[in-house]
Symmetry: C2
DNA sequence: CTGAAAGCGCTTACAG
DNA sequence: CTGAAAGCGCTTACAG
């Protein structure tokens, strides 16, 4: 159903700085200075100019400013999996903090498996001052190209050895070890792992820590299945893991898979959690604390990770010699009811 | 823990079109034409130019193009509540479809209650070709300003009478009526409503249809409580509604509130769903089909709504006389197990 | 503090 | 098909 409600006339030509100058009886450069914080103009002139600007509905053209100043104040964000609650939180925090810094965010979605390299040219054409990549990874060549162009890059929540970029991650390996330890301490001996996407550093690091510590403690790792970081993937993975014999505990590489696994265990396999199977997740997404799941998990310091990412970007775009580093932040274990108590 | 991994040199000056022209031995305008699809250049010239461009790592500067052509190919999106699964889906679809059209999206987050008007100046400075607003609303004055500037606006999922914009919505009133009918047909007589944010058109329309039809059918509406479109809000609202006596059925203005309500009913009030209380949601977010909730709800045609929004924007930015209309699309009732069968 | 002038990197009539 | 030229709306030395 479409209901026409009207039509409007064409565009009125927007006022430019020289028009404001004319109206105020000053030079165009004076107008430019008046609208620039810290610009060198007398109070009287500034007021005259603002009045004229107000009258004409003047709004500085950021595109023209970007062109001449070689600073767009735009940051590109490449993200897959926006609908995963963890990443939608990350995106929200990025947008809020960038907005607070007066930066604009151009957001691109990557389909999983898609090479981020294909997406970057369009971002570079728009002269973004920096780049945040939260999914997939960067080829070494693209990393060098960006570096040559002077566009700083932050890899968020993934570590990429040898890329010409900064990584902001969590200590996933240590977290994996903590899971094995927790399972051991609570008396479980047969454990399993539901993996995320195979070639992501988060998945690899979480698993490596978990397997290593499990071995040290003498835990028997009875299964490892991929769950692709999705609810349905976790659901299917849990069924696969329990095909012959359910493990006592399952470590899922993220929360949403853990929820899929829990639902499979309960509704399809009629197993009770945590009495028969303990489940552990990662991310502490919103629904993790819902009474249905009451999921034991890890909380990442999203705010701080984002803050550090933005700081790194903004500092590095000013510098000739960029500082590339990997920052590894600690995660916080959040104990809830999905892991058996004794 | 921070581990420095290196530092890189400064930026190499990016190649501009006149450099490519020099390298290829043609004019700068030829280069411009070669990189423009449909540009008038001979095959031989184009190839010579591409070779030179390749060699210099040339990438057209979209900022300069925007300035001269008065078309930025950027669309502004203003959204609140990105972490609500419904809106993160909407955002993802918008980003995908805009990308497919070669448009860039600048995304701004609005805090709820914040006037969108405050956010728009920064978007307008960046010369966006159009605007999508999915949260909050637009003042009539700002609507006129945008209209005067020739910036088309689409209000997504909200209808705003008298704004100088297009609305793409669903038939919320009809959906509300269907809920009352469904409750009635399934034998329930005492019903209740958990409202979203009070002054949103979605909330108002869903409630109006529900109340109207309830009255026609002789249903007794025993309670109405605000749930603010959040899980916690729905949880608290359900408790409030059942303070004296639980209704037989509750219509929640969105799914996430319905889930909060269900968890409150089950875990805090020990009521079973749907035997003792039926629950109905709206949106059909991903988790609605999870066995825990198995939620009866409405599915909105997100893909089509987004497609129509973008079409409207792209058509209207070309036109002198814009077509303003309200499009109301049908929603689909998704029957699951959270509403009692007989 | 203020203005005249150059220039950012493009697109697009215009003329040939 | 091709080039010379103007111009988009700004910022920023430079000189006063």
């Amino acid at each position: 159903m479409t209901e026409a409600t009207g039509a409007t006339g064409g565009a009125r030509k927007a006022a430019a700085s020289y028009m404001v100058a004319e109206e105020a009886g000053v030079s165009q450069s004076a107008v430019s200075r008046a609208y620039k914080s810290g610009g060198s103009v007398s109070k009287a002139t500034r007021e005259k100019i603002y009045a004229a600007g107000q009258k004409l509905g003047y709004r500085p053209n950021a595109i023209a400013r970007s062109l001449i100043s070689k600073q767009s104040n735009m940051i590109g964000i490449v993200m897959a999996d926006i609908t995963n609650p963890f990443y939608s939180s990350v995106l929200e925090v990025f947008l809020q903090k960038l907005q607070a810094e007066g930066q604009k965010a151009i957001v691109l979605v990557a389909t999983r498996d898609q090479d981020v390299d294909d997406l970057l040219p369009q971002l570079l054409e728009y002269q973004v001052d920096g780049l945040v990549v939260t999914s997939a990874t960067l080829s070494s060549e693209m990393g060098r190209t960006l570096s040559d162009m002077g566009v700083p890059v932050v890899m968020f929540n993934r570590s990429v050895p040898d890329s010409h970029s900064t990584s902001i991650c969590c200590d996933n390996n240590s977290a994996g070890r903590q899971v094995a330890q927790l399972f051991f301490d609570r008396g479980m001996r047969n454990v399993a792992y539901i993996a995320g996407i195979e070639n992501t550093s988060t998945n690899q690091d979480r698993r490596a820590g978990f397997l290593k510590r499990s071995k040290e403690l003498g835990l028997s790792v009875t299964g490892q299945v991929q769950g692709f970081y999705t609810y349905d993937g976790g659901y299917q993975a849990a069924l696969a893991l329990c095909a012959s014999q359910a493990p006592e505990a399952i470590f899922c590489a993220n929360d949403i898979m853990a929820m899929g696994a829990m639902d499979a265990l309960r509704y399809e396999l009629k197993l009770s959690i945590p009495e028969q199977v303990s489940v552990m997740g990662f991310d502490d997404i919103n629904s993790a604390h819902w009474p249905v799941y009451d999921l034991t998990t890890f909380r990442m310091p999203i705010e701080r990770m984002v803050t550090r990412s933005i700081e790194n970007l903004l500092v590095n775009k000013q510098r000739e010699n960029r500082v590339l580093a990997t920052e590894t932040l600690a995660v916080e274990l959040v104990l809830r009811g999905s892991v058996r108590s004794v």
